[in-house]
């Protein structure tokens, strides 16, 4: 992620984009008929505000932006696009970090922020039904104080549930509580032909394929979720938060391994290295030790009795792993301060570097020390600094490659280094992305994880939902793929011909 707009480099033009100026003019009139003049953006200047998501290095000006206010309007918009053969991209809060909501040139950008209704709060059944533009924190707020919605990406104050569904967002607490996909039970989806379908519901295990599971994390390429049913859970009785300081990330990593292998399941385990601690302290002054090589944040929750017992156990382990200091938050304000530092980590990088790239790779947790050592080596080879902040429990690294875009060649070196870090993580048995998504930014790394046949299998799902490839084309897949006809001819079994059996 480049933190400075002016230093923006390349402008991506997704290969799947087509020239469709003429149909776009007719289509724009139709979109205005659907949403009214206040629901359409065509002004050149205003269109520019939609050209990027949270990853500013990619920018494409959309042909038109449309801002529907209801699911019905979304369906009409998508149907109109299908009839005109114009591709579209759905956008929530625009806070994504993989370029997943970058528009298609001369395509339609569908902004969903105006679909902000909390449709239903059914606490008796632990369900909330919301429209996609509702923010992540609004869901927890709607069920407070007795219940909460666990997935908590750092951007939770602004990011939308629709975007969370598209990206299968995680957050600091997913080591214990899981991801968005573990909390979505039902969806109303507008398919790319404008048809509205209901997948899943409030109830578990409905007969049929788990199309909710297939849809969550599909990065806007299978359709637009216009209504989302979420599971919420009771708020735990007690929460304990501590920070342990270590000489090195390796030592802190040992503590993490010890905690996990002792059978404890903390709600969160987050780590920051020396560089990150310095930046964060400059920014929020949360009282982290600047002389420490690593800070390990551990949060425990559950019943009061279990939480207290677990806290003792964690303190003992952190001590044994040679923590230089352990601080346990004594009240909610101290807990909040500890978290404020962690959640400010990305933004604080601006204090120590003009620009930075954020990566989102995952490794098996046991390979942590070795991979961090390799990242240090690579950074030295490229004469760049890498700050490390990560979800230590689940091995999700966020290496921040620091550089100065104003210095010739440094942006390119940073990009190369970031790529090598991704490669290192995949080679260690990990993944190119843990929670930010593939989008535009990481699709070039997809062949590192998946072979041609695997990518073809992904495409089978894509084609079942969106055979015309109008939904967010050019994302996720490393190279554009088309949907052929369903292979056939299908041979009718004699029993079917005789009416004794069906195909399904």
């Amino acid at each position: 992620m480049v933190s400075d707009l002016k230093s923006r480099g390349r402008v991506m033009r997704p290969a799947a984009a087509r020239s469709c100026i003429l149909p776009l003019m007719t289509l724009t009139a139709e979109l205005e008929r659907i949403c009214g003049p206040a629901g359409i953006v065509t002004d050149e200047h205003a269109l520019r505000t939609y050209e990027s998501d949270g990853l500013l290095q990619y920018a494409v000006k959309p042909g038109v932006v449309v801002l529907p206010e209801s699911a019905g309007q979304v369906a009409q918009i998508v149907r109109a696009c299908a009839e005109a053969g114009v591709p579209w991209v759905a956008r929530g809060a625009g806070s994504g970090l993989s370029g997943g909501a970058v528009p298609v040139e001369d395509g339609v950008l569908i902004g969903l922020n105006r679909l902000r209704r909390i449709v239903e709060v059914d606490l008796d059944n632990q369900r909330v039904v919301v429209e996609p533009g509702v923010t992540n924190v609004e869901v927890s707020a709607a069920v407070a104080p007795t219940h909460f919605y666990p997935p908590d990406p750092s951007s939770q104050v602004v990011c939308s549930i629709g975007g969370n569904v598209a990206e299968n967002s995680g957050g600091a607490h997913c080591f214990k509580y899981g991801f968005t996909t573990n909390y979505v039970t039902g969806l109303e989806v507008v398919l790319s032909d404008g048809e509205v379908v209901t997948l899943g519901g409030k109830e578990p295990d409905l007969p049929g394929y788990d199309l909710v599971g297939a849809f969550v994390g599909s990065e806007g390429t299978l359709g637009i979720a216009t209504k989302i049913t979420l599971r919420v859970i009771p708020r735990p009785q007690a929460v304990e938060t501590l920070v342990a300081f270590y000489e090195s990330t390796a030592a802190a990593g040992d503590a993490v391994s010890e905690i996990v292998s002792s059978g404890l399941v903390p709600a969160a385990m987050e780590m920051m290295d020396r560089l990150t601690i310095g930046a964060v302290e400059d920014a929020v002054n949360a009282g982290y030790r600047r002389d420490a090589g690593a800070a390990l944040l551990v949060e425990l929750d559950g019943s009061e009795a279990e939480c207290a017992a677990a806290l003792d156990a964690v303190r003992a382990i952190c001590d044994r792993a040679a923590a230089t200091e352990i601080r346990v938050a004594t009240d909610a304000a101290e807990q909040a301060l500890i978290w404020q530092a962690r959640k400010a980590a990305f933004a604080a990088m601006g204090r120590i570097s003009p620009n930075y790239y954020v990566q989102d790779s995952v490794i098996p947790r046991t390979r942590l020390a070795e991979v961090l050592a390799r990242i240090d080596e690579l950074a030295a080879e490229h004469d760049l600094r890498v700050a490390n902040v990560f979800h230590a429990g689940d091995g999700n690294l966020h290496p921040l490659v620091l550089y100065d875009g104003a210095k010739p060649g440094e942006a390119e070196r940073a990009e190369e280094l970031a790529g090598l870090i991704v490669t290192t993580c995949v080679d260690a048995g990990g993944s190119i992305t843990g929670e930010h998504g593939v989008g535009l930014d990481k699709k070039r790394y997809m062949p590192r994880m998946f072979g041609e046949a695997d990518l073809d299998a992904f495409q089978r799902l894509r084609c079942a939902f969106d055979p015309a490839a109008l939904a967010n084309p050019g994302k996720v897949m490393p190279t554009p793929r088309l949907c052929g006809e369903v292979p056939g001819p299908y041979r009718r079994h004699p029993l079917e011909a005789a009416g004794r059996a069906e195909r399904f």
């Binding site: 632990q126 219940h147 409905l206 297939a214 677990a310 490794i363 992305t433 939902f465 195909r503 399904f504």
Partner: protein, 369 residues
């Protein structure tokens, strides 16, 4: 239940499984997929297949990464054997459906689950990655083997619960959890369905963290069971017992074994309900002379109706409408008379997904919705 087949194949490699499937697609043969053979009687009654494709030769625990709490298992590994392996390291795969020789692949393909579902989710929530053989002859992989990963479409979830109608699952990567140090269960017994539902609701919404939270009802008597784990399991169970007015059982393995066992029987219907509707589910089971077990907080119940005929199934469905009532265990004749899924027509999207993955309709044709 007829389980004879013209020809049984036990491929020892994923490649071989895929080429067998491709041959079947070429010749228009019908394939039945078989794991442990414990749930072959689920789904619609279909004619005997031409080929039975068994995972009996795919029985390797490929990886057990104890430090990472993950494992990679071939589909034919019996769940019980996998659990033994993990238990040696103080770990478990948090899936406890009724077992009797079920394989990991079979449990994932049918989406079957037990009391641990309350905290850990269904198979779809524990599978990190999948390798599968397609009828195109390809072996494909999706997901990964780390506990957090959003690269590519989540085909693991699509295949979990798809009853072998999209691909043959040949291998799964799973997340493991620590085996609890100790357990204790708070039991609230009552013969009043409303009191039972009240206890279930108060335990579900209390700020207590149970590992399992079940209900059962049989012969006019019922109970809510909340199992706690960890260093303070007994204390937690005592607190829960105070909340609901029940008693604590520390030696609780038997209690839970019988909850699991009651999910199978001569005629068993799985109801996808809502937790607040427990009293209607109990009333429906009781009214038809049956019994019920299930997950209190999930609204997922198994109604056992040993002597049910088609009229009883229809009556259950009417009483519990609009909840889906899926007939799992039942004699062939009954499953032929009442559609086990209770679904008239597959949705357009279901049909399109099926056609993209298995265009020739080779795999378990006719079995699923």
């Amino acid at each position: 239940m007829k389980v004879t087949a013209t020809r049984t194949e036990r491929p020892a490699s994923y490649r071989r499984a895929a080429s067998l499937l491709a041959e079947c697609a070429e010749s228009g043969a019908r394939v039945r997929v078989r794991g442990g053979g414990t749930k072959l009687g689920w789904g619609r009654v279909v004619p005997d297949p031409d080929v039975e494709l068994s995972t009996a030769a795919l029985v390797r625990v490929v990886e057990h990464n104890a430090g990472d709490m993950t494992a990679v298992l071939q589909a034919g590994v019996p769940l019980a054997r996998a659990q033994e392996t993990f238990a040696a390291a103080g770990q478990m795969l948090a899936l406890d459906p009724p077992d009797d020789g079920a394989t990991v692949g079979g449990v994932v393909a049918t989406g079957d689950s037990g009391p641990l579902r309350h905290r850990y989710g269904a198979p779809r929530d524990l599978v990190l990655g999948v390798t599968a053989a397609l009828t195109s002859g390809e072996v494909v992989r999706a997901g990964g083997k780390v506990i957090k990963n959003v690269a590519g479409y989540d085909l693991s979830k699509l295949l979990a619960g798809s009853f072998g109608t999209l691909a043959l699952i040949t291998e799964v990567a799973v997340r493991l959890h620590p085996l609890p140090a100790a357990t204790a269960t708070a039991v609230f017994a009552s013969s009043d369905p409303d009191a039972l539902a009240g206890a279930a609701a108060s335990l579900t919404h209390a700020a207590l963290e149970s590992q399992s939270l079940d209900v059962r009802w049989s012969g006019g008597e019922g109970a809510v069971l909340a199992r706690f784990t960890g260093r303070t399991a007994a204390d937690q169970a005592a607190a829960a017992a105070r909340t609901a007015g029940g008693e604590v059982v520390e030696d609780d393995d038997e209690l839970w074994a019988s909850q699991r066992a009651a999910q199978r029987g001569a005629v068993v219907v799985r109801v996808s309900g809502l937790q607040s509707q427990l009293p209607s589910a109990v009333a429906a089971a009781e009214g038809l002379g049956g019994s019920l077990v299930g997950r209190a907080a999930l609204g997922l119940w198994w109604v056992s109706l040993p002597d049910a005929d088609a009229a009883a199934i229809r009556s259950l469905r009417e009483r519990l409408a609009p909840f889906a009532c899926v007939v799992l265990d039942a004699p062939d004749a009954l499953r032929a008379e009442v559609d086990p899924w209770g679904v008239d027509e597959p949705s357009v999207l279901t049909r399109r997904v099926r056609e993209r993955f298995d265009p020739h309709g080779v795999l378990n044709r006719g079995v699923f919705v």
